[in-house]
Symmetry: C2
Subunit: 342 residues, 2 copies
């Protein structure tokens, strides 16, 4: 599933792009610009010409945030409204909450019986997460099983295409291996998913590292104008460009990386005048902040409207559950029958 | 859960024996004498003065027999009828099939999020199984998670007492640790189970090793008279007692170990005359076979009657499911609420 890190906002690159799309989103907190260009814009784009299943991966959140479940209900509601305001259309896609599909747990248990530990242990993100979150207590069975849970999310709705960034390819490869093993053991029941490989735009945070909530370097999509301006001002820039007049290097400047996302109207001008030194960083940041504010203004307006409907998120999720259940029932009936289970 | 190995047929030894009893039985094949004295007699005894939940652990069977699921339906039916014929009373106990309680999978997934891998890896039976079944391909996530699945079986019905042999104490200790961790994180929701420690009688097979299907050294409880006599004759005895007249050592003889279970009427006589040499092994085996045949005759008769009711097992399991579901629903409602899950 999409982690709260930039993923796959770029153009769809895979040649084989027909089929049912499945992607999930962990409700770990406010959406930031990295999520937006990594996942959200992609979800909006894909719904136009694909049958799409999008889900709120609340059980996945437990793999790293099991000790913060009190945040879950608020995060789930907020994420649903964010997606709606961003343009995800619950009439056109199936938008549901993972934990509303209890069969996900059943299939996880069943596939766990045929998934070698070695396959899970060698998924690179497993060790990365253990390392990145060393100060927290997450070396649990659930974290090791994370890619298997993803496999189930995909196969239980017969997902065929999974938008992934480069760093998620190993996860999907595991999913394909597990599906093949199941089908070899019990017959051709599960659908082997394919990666919808996307070039993720690099979305740096205020410190130049990848934008990420845990690094406290984000600009959130629901930040108000003041917050956006303050945060943009706090970004590092080319350390060799100390004052206006000094030539800058856009290619290493996180502010310029954001200009590439928000400032198509002045992108060339910004690059030229940064390099020449004519443009100072203070003005350059103001230009960027103006554009981020403008870009998200309609989103924030829609989002505020949606926020006034207290039951909207739950209603949307209930409709999504009703839409996803027949698909899941069909898969599980076939799985149980193939395994001679009651 | 009780494995298809002798477990706990001896007298209840724990001082604290009040509470709801939970035990499971893997449907891995025909019941043998080891199961009978390890588990079945205990189940019959405990139902008299305890509220008892007994279940057919079909999902557990997958941890080691995932490639033999075609045997499952027959094994499940057979095990249910065996238990009924042995005296387990489905009116008095709740007798159900694990896979009919899908919430077991949900709670397994949730508890997996807070169960350290290290706790599971250090359960002794995990490495033993890997070693004992080295020729088979079972180093899967499901095998590692086995003790967690047991934990769920117990806690999902608020089981308080779990009959265990010495070799299962580590499993139950893990269950207690997981329950404590859950309650510490989310509030006092789950019940900490206690071991109902029992002295298991040693039930040796024909080769003198522990009676076990995988060693092909069993006498099955539904063997007919001819099979019983043939199998008893095939048992090894004291290798120093070659012919009648040679003194024997009952304490190392598997036939005498079975006499201790079946031959109360001639136990002292057998011991004396074996030691003196007056009793030859051929006669001694005939005496044992006579008693095994007699012991199981009423069971086999009842079992044959039950076998003529084609829907009995399914009906009993359906009733059991109806009885267990309200208990499970109550637990899961409390669990989800404590974890702020929908």
């Amino acid at each position: 599933m999409s982690d709260p890190t930039p993923g796959d906002g770029g153009a769809v690159a895979a040649p084989d792009t027909e089929g049912r799309v499945l992607t999930g989103f962990r409700p770990t907190g406010p959406l930031h610009i990295g999520h937006w260009f990594g996942n959200v814009t992609n979800m909006v784009r894909l719904q136009a010409d694909h049958e799409a299943f999008y889900f709120i991966a609340d059980w996945h959140m437990l793999t790293t945030h099991y000790d913060r479940t009190e945040e879950l209900p608020g995060n789930v509601r907020s994420l649903v409204l964010d997606l709606l305001a961003a343009g995800v259309d619950p009439q056109s896609v199936t938008l549901y909450r993972q934990s509303d599909v209890k069969e996900v747990a059943e299939l996880t248990l069943l596939l766990g019986m045929i998934t070698p530990l070695g396959w899970l242990e060698r998924v690179p993100t497993y060790k990365e997460r253990l390392r990145d979150m060393a100060e927290r207590d997450i070396a649990n069975l659930g974290l090791l099983g994370y890619p298997l849970l993803q496999t189930v999310d995909i196969t239980i709705v017969k997902g065929e295409l999974v938008p992934v960034g480069e760093d998620q390819v190993a996860h999907l490869e595991l999913s394909r291996e597990v599906v093949r093993r199941f089908n070899r053991l019990y017959g051709e029941v599960l659908v082997e998913p394919r990666a919808l490989l996307s070039r993720a735009p690099l979305v740096p945070g205020s410190d130049g590292r990848k934008m990420s909530k845990s690094l406290d370097n984000t600009i959130d999509v629901r930040d108000d104008e003041d917050a956006i301006r303050t945060k943009v001002r706090s970004f590092i820039t080319d350390p060799k460009k100390v004052r206006r007049g000094d030539p800058g290097r856009p290619e290493i400047c996180p502010i310029f990386a954001l200009h590439e996302l928000f400032s198509h109207d002045i992108l060339e001008w910004t690059e030229e005048n940064c390099r020449s030194g004519a443009l100072g960083c203070v003005d350059c940041k103001t230009n960027l902040a103006d554009r981020i504010v403008t870009y998200y203004a309609p989103f924030r307006e829609r989002r505020d409207e949606l926020d006034r409907e207290p039951h909207l998120a739950e209603d949307v999720l209930a409709e999504g559950a009703a839409k996803v259940h027949p698909v899941v029932d069909e898969t599980m009936k076939a799985v149980r029958s193939a395994m001679s289970l009651g």
